[in-house]
Subunit: 231 residues, 2 copies
C-alpha cells in the first residue's frame, strides 16, 4: 500500500505528525501549507489522495475542495477533511463539497490510517494493499507475489503494476491512454502501442498457469480483465 498523499495543513506541528504517520504506514506524503501551494503541486502531479485541513489561511479548505471537485482532472482524487471540531454543520458542508471522509481532530494515528485505507479501498482499490484473486490467479501487493493455482508466476515491475490494476478493476474496459495514466503515471510520455507489448508480456507470463485468457482484447477500445470467456 503505497499511495502518494498530499497533506494540506498550515500548522507545522500537526503537519509533521501526519507526515510521519503516513510514512510509517508506507505512503509517500507531499506537503503544502496553503491551498494555493496545494493547487500548484496538484498541477504538477496528481496525488492518490488529499488530506485537507478545514481551516487554512487564505483560501479555505472547503473552497480548495470545491475547486478540485470542479476540475475534471482532479475530480477523481479522494479528499479527506481534517476538522477541529465535530460540528455537524461543518460535516454536512464538507460532504457537500465532495469530501470522501472526515476526520475530527484530535485523531489517533490509528484512526487516520483506518480511514485512509477505507477510502483508498473504495476509490482506488489497487492502492489499498489488499491481495486480489480471480479464479485462482492471486496477486498480493504486500509480499509482491503472484501465483496461479498456487504456482509462482514471474512478472516484471510494469507487468506487475498492470496486472494489479486490471485485477483491482475487473470486468471493465480500459483504453491504452487510461492504462498509461493509471499504471505508468499521469505524466509520462509513452507511445500508446507500448501498452500492447506489455499486455503481451503479461499474457506470456500468465500462460504457464493458463490464466492468460483473463486478459482480453476489446477491439477498438482497449483491454479488459474478465473471468467470462472472450467474445
Amino acid at each position: 500500500m503505497s499511495a502518494m498523499i498530499l497533506v494540506v495543513e498550515d500548522e507545522p506541528a500537526i503537519r509533521e505528525l501526519v507526515v510521519l504517520n503516513l510514512q510509517q504506514a508506507g505512503h509517500r506524503p507531499m506537503v503544502a501549507d496553503s491551498a494555493e501551494q496545494a493547487l500548484a503541486l496538484v498541477r504538477e502531479s496528481l496525488p492518490d489522495m488529499i488530506l485537507l485541513d478545514w481551516m487554512l489561511p487564505g483560501m479555505s479548505g472547503v473552497e480548495l475542495a470545491r475547486r478540485l471537485k470542479a476540475d475534471s482532472r482532479t475530480r477523481g482524487v479522494p479528499i479527506i477533511m481534517l476538522t477541529a471540531r465535530g460540528d455537524e454543520q461543518d460535516k454536512i458542508t464538507g460532504l457537500e463539497t465532495g469530501a470522501d471522509d472526515y476526520i475530527t481532530k484530535p485523531f489517533s494515528p490509528r484512526e487516520m490510517n483506518a480511514r485512509i485505507k477505507a477510502v483508498l479501498r473504495r476509490r482506488a482499490p489497487q492502492m489499498a494493499g489488499d491481495a486480489v484473486e480471480v479464479t485462482g490467479l492471486r496477486l498480493d501487493p504486500a509480499t509482491h507475489r503472484v501465483t496461479g493455482n498456487d504456482r509462482p508466476i514471474e512478472l516484471g515491475p510494469t507487468e506487475f503494476r498492470l496486472l494489479h490494476f486490471l485485477m483491482a478493476h475487473p470486468e471493465r474496459v480500459y483504453s491504452r491512454a487510461q492504462l498509461l495514466d493509471q499504471v505508468w503515471g499521469n505524466h509520462v510520455f509513452v507511445e500508446d502501442r507500448t501498452v500492447d507489448v506489455h499486455i503481451r508480456r503479461l499474457r506470456c507470463a500468465l500462460e504457464v498457469t493458463g490464466h492468460d485468457g483473463l486478459v482480453q482484447t476489446v477491439r477498438g477500445s482497449g483491454y479488459r480483465l474478465s473471468v467470462h470467456p472472450e467474445g
Copy 2:
C-alpha cells in the same frame, strides 16, 4: 509480546493499577513518579514504550513528551498519553507533541492492553522481544544471538537489526526507504543504496548455514524475507 514499558504517573493508586495490569499482560513495567525521574530512567535504558500521565507535578507530561521527541535517541519510543478527561484541547496538544495514542481515564484494562498492543505492533513489532525463527534460522533479541541450524552466525550491529526487522515481518516487501526508517531510524540521512550493501553483508553472513536464500530481492520494490524459493 513482552515489552519494557515505562509508566510515568504520580498518583500511586493509578500507577499500581497500571503496573499490575501490564504485568498481567506479560510486559515488564518500570515506574517513575515524575518527569525528572522518567528522564533519568530513560537515560539508563530505553524502554519499548512510555505510558505518560498528562498531569504531573513539576515538569508536565506534555513537556516530557516534547523533550523525548526532540532527542534522536528517544524519538522512536512510542508514547501513549493518559489524560484525565476527554478534553479536546488536551488531545490536540498531545498529538502535537508526538504522542502515538492517548487513553482517557478512566480506562478499562482491556482498552489499555488493546491500545498498547496496537501501538507496539505498529511501531516496533520486533520489540516484542521474543526470539524469532524461520526454517532453522533463529534470532534471539534477548541474548543478541543468531544461529542457523544451531550453528552460530556472526553479524554486525546493523545487520543484526536488519535481520531482526525482516524476520519480524516475513513475507513482505520493504522498500529501501522503509528499511532505512525501520532499521536505521526515521531521522537519519543515509543513501538509499547503502541498504544494498548491508543486505549483501547480511547474505554473506547467512551463507555459511545456507540461509542466505531467505533474503530476497524484489526488483523495483525492495527486499523481502521469505521461506518460499525465490521467484
